[in-house]
């Protein structure tokens, strides 16, 4: 539990009364406050019988309690945020790490789009081959193993052994 709690020298608490936790707490309050107001529009109304609901419990009751609870927790989070000493590892990422992460996420998104339309094997080759090279593998045998042999094997495991559909 204490792994993430650092001393103030290490933490991003240069501004003593404001840190990333305070910002997140405020975002939460605004976001969950918004969710609270849309609850009536996002929950279907139960059918009425002779002007009364057949359900014993209002369908909005539990969601409303939950969202109010999150809002209360967010206020509590805001209240204690100034005393939390943690490192915001997101802003501590260097340029190389950011680029690698963004490229990987972009590859995930592209793979999601290709998966169904191009089929599993072809889309996986297009996804895994450049990514393997990008991550630093230069050995052609390893690249071929990862991007061609592996997808074929996975396809065979799912479709032949388990009789499960992969596009």
């Amino acid at each position: 539990m204490s792994d993430s709690v650092r001393t103030s020298a290490e933490a991003d608490t240069g501004k003593k009364n404001w840190n990333f936790n305070t910002t997140i707490a405020l975002i939460f309050i605004v976001f969950w406050g918004g969710v609270y107001f849309i609850i009536p529009y996002q929950i279907a109304k139960p059918k009425l019988f002779l002007g009364r609901s057949l359900m014993g419990l209002e369908p909005t009751l539990f969601p409303t309690i939950s969202v109010i609870l999150i809002i209360c927790l967010s206020f509590w989070y805001l209240f204690v945020s100034k005393t939390i000493q943690e490192v915001n590892e997101l802003i501590r990422m260097d340029k190389e790490q950011i680029v690698k992460t963004v490229v990987t996420i972009a590859a995930f998104c592209a793979y999601t789009q290709m998966f169904d339309s191009l089929g599993f094997i072809f889309s996986t080759i297009l996804f895994a081959c450049p990514l393997t090279i990008y991550f630093g593998t230069r050995n052609p045998i390893t690249i071929a193993l990862v991007s061609i042999v592996c997808p074929v094997l996975i396809y065979l495991i799912f479709s032949t052994l388990m009789h499960v559909y992969l596009p």
Binding site: I43, P59, Q85, M93, T112, C150, M162
Partner: protein, 508 residues
């Protein structure tokens, strides 16, 4: 119970169960041996594979990955001072020192034997405990269940990594995510935001794989230690462990096993804490505490038996009440549900032989483990030097294929990426995703039992709980006490940290 055990044993006697358990153990060891690849991640991405097997094959396969993974984490911890999993951090206190002394083989053997003894004993304890707890669980009604779920969620939020309030927020967010789709009482559509795909709710699989597997990949991508691990050539040195060395540590192993079993029953505590407590207890009880930290075999025995002894008891709340105590049991719950089995008191009554067969499979997995582990240690010692660059894309492909196959719905891949990115950002901002998963899994149970309680109370909740369901009231009060205790602990820790900083600033 004996009748169910013998029926379970006859159900278990099939070759495919043993083959897949062995395969799971080897896979788990391989994943555990790879620094940066966690057992939870392996279980999450291989969970869909288990869906298409018989329950008596698929679930032991996952249990094999779990057991193998916990031990596998000790291999890099001993050889290159990099814990393969969180559970093996305490093993780094002694392992690398033994490797420096040229006794890495002894250390790995000790880790294996201590793991198996700890795990086996905890499994026997679990089997013995299951019947009385299941009988008690049958008396649990909706108010008690709601109170127990609330209690578990508070404990899980308080014991996981990070600040308590952040854990609670993640837990509440998980409950909110579980509300998307249809409400469990009236079947009314809610929070679909106009997306047809969300009408049946968020499926568990993309969420599990998304928050447990993809963030590991994204973190590993930016991990600067990759090159170091890839460049290390680990060699096993020295003689094997002698029987007298194992018997010398027997007292430590059984003490740590007791610690692991006890901590395993507390939701959310898990292997990491057990390993540290086991190690600290061994050091305290030792006649030569000064040898700890310099390559003491007893230290490895203590940490490894403690962390593996957690494995059995974590299943007790899952199988008897349907409440997962940690992320591993949450994944196992996914496997049960996909097989059409809903863990809980009814399942222990209706499918008792099957449940006992699964518990016995854990015992057999240990026996298999000692043989496979003993033979394959040299091979897995080389696994630590496999470059991550080649494994990350394969892991990602498995994660995507696994998320897709269950429903064959491309929208599940969108959810997978969404939860993967969410999990990555949460981790970087020091939010633990385990309470979110627990909230997501336990949310519908909480909502359903809460709704039934409200209906049963007939408008006067307080009188109903106090006069008619006092046990639910007691568990509810315990939840409040647990929350206050965790808060008080956090407050004291923060105050101490601030006082330390002030003293430091004055000193400067």
């Amino acid at each position: 119970m004996l009748e169910h055990l013998s029926e379970g044993l006859s159900l278990l006697m099939r070759i495919d169960t043993f083959v897949m358990t062995g395969f799971g153990l080897l896979l788990g060891m391989a994943v555990g041996a790879l620094p940066g690849f966690t057992t939870v991640m392996a279980m999450a991405i291989l969970l869909p594979v288990s869906f298409f097997m018989d329950p008596l094959v698929g679930i032991p396969f996952l249990i094999g990955i779990y057991k193998g993974g916990i031990y596998g984490g000790s291999i890099p911890a001993i050889l290159i001072n990099v814990p393969g999993t969180g559970a093996s951090v305490a093993t780094t206190f002694e392992g690398p020192a033994l490797t420096k002394k040229g006794q890495s083989r002894k250390a790995l053997d000790m880790a294996l034997f201590a793991s198996v003894i700890g795990d086996f004993s905890s499994d026997v304890f679990t089997i013995l405990l299951m019947a009385p707890i299941a009988a008690l669980a049958l008396m649990v009604g909706p108010p008690e269940l709601a109170a127990i779920v609330l209690f578990s969620l508070i404990i899980i939020s308080g014991t996981t990594h990070g600040v308590f309030v952040k854990g609670l927020i993640m837990c509440a967010f998980g409950i909110f995510l579980s509300m998307i789709g249809q409400d469990p009482l009236g079947g009314m559509s809610r929070f679909t935001f106009g997306f047809f795909e969300l009408k049946s709710g968020i499926p568990l699989l993309p969420l599990l794989i998304g928050v447990f597997a993809l963030p590991e990949i994204l973190v590993a991508v930016g991990d600067k230690t990759t090159a170091y691990i890839a460049g290390n050539k680990s060699i096993i040195q020295g003689s094997r462990l002698a029987l007298r060395e194992l018997t010398r540590c027997s007292k430590t192993i059984f003490r740590s096993t007791g610690i692991g079993i006890f901590l395993g029953m507390v939701p959310g505590v898990g292997q990491v804490v057990a390993a540290f407590v086991g190690y600290a207890a061994a050091k305290k009880a030792s006649k030569h505490p000064e040898t700890f930290g310099t390559g003491e075999l007893e230290g490895i025995a203590a940490a490894e038996s403690a962390n593996n002894a957690v494995n059995g008891p974590t299943l007790v709340p899952l199988l008897t009440l349907g409440i997962p105590g940690d992320n591993v049991t949450a994944i196992l719950l996914g496997a049960f549900v996909a097989q059409g089995l809903r863990p809980g008191p009814q399942l222990m009554v209706e499918q008792a032989p099957l449940m006992y067969a699964l518990l016995l499979a854990m015992l057999f997995a240990n026996l298999l483990f000692i043989i496979l582990g003993y033979l394959t240690i040299p091979f897995f010692a080389r696994v630590v030097s496999i470059p991550k660059a080649a494994l990350l894309p394969v892991t990602a492909v498995f994660a995507f294929a696994g998320s897709y196959v269950f429903r064959s719905d491309p929208f599940d891949l969108v959810l997978l990426v969404f939860f993967g990115v969410f999990g990555f950002i949460a981790r970087k901002l020091q939010f633990d995703v385990t309470p979110l998963v627990m909230g997501f899994i336990l949310g519908p149970i909480l909502e359903y039992s809460f709704g039934q309680t409200v209906n049963l109370a007939g408008g006067d909740m307080v009188s109903y709980i106090v006069l008619e369901r006092p046990i639910a009231g007691v568990v509810f009060v315990l939840s409040v006490i647990a929350a206050v205790t965790i808060l008080w602990g956090n407050y004291k820790k923060r105050k101490k940290s601030l006082a330390g900083d002030l003293a430091k600033n004055h000193g400067d």
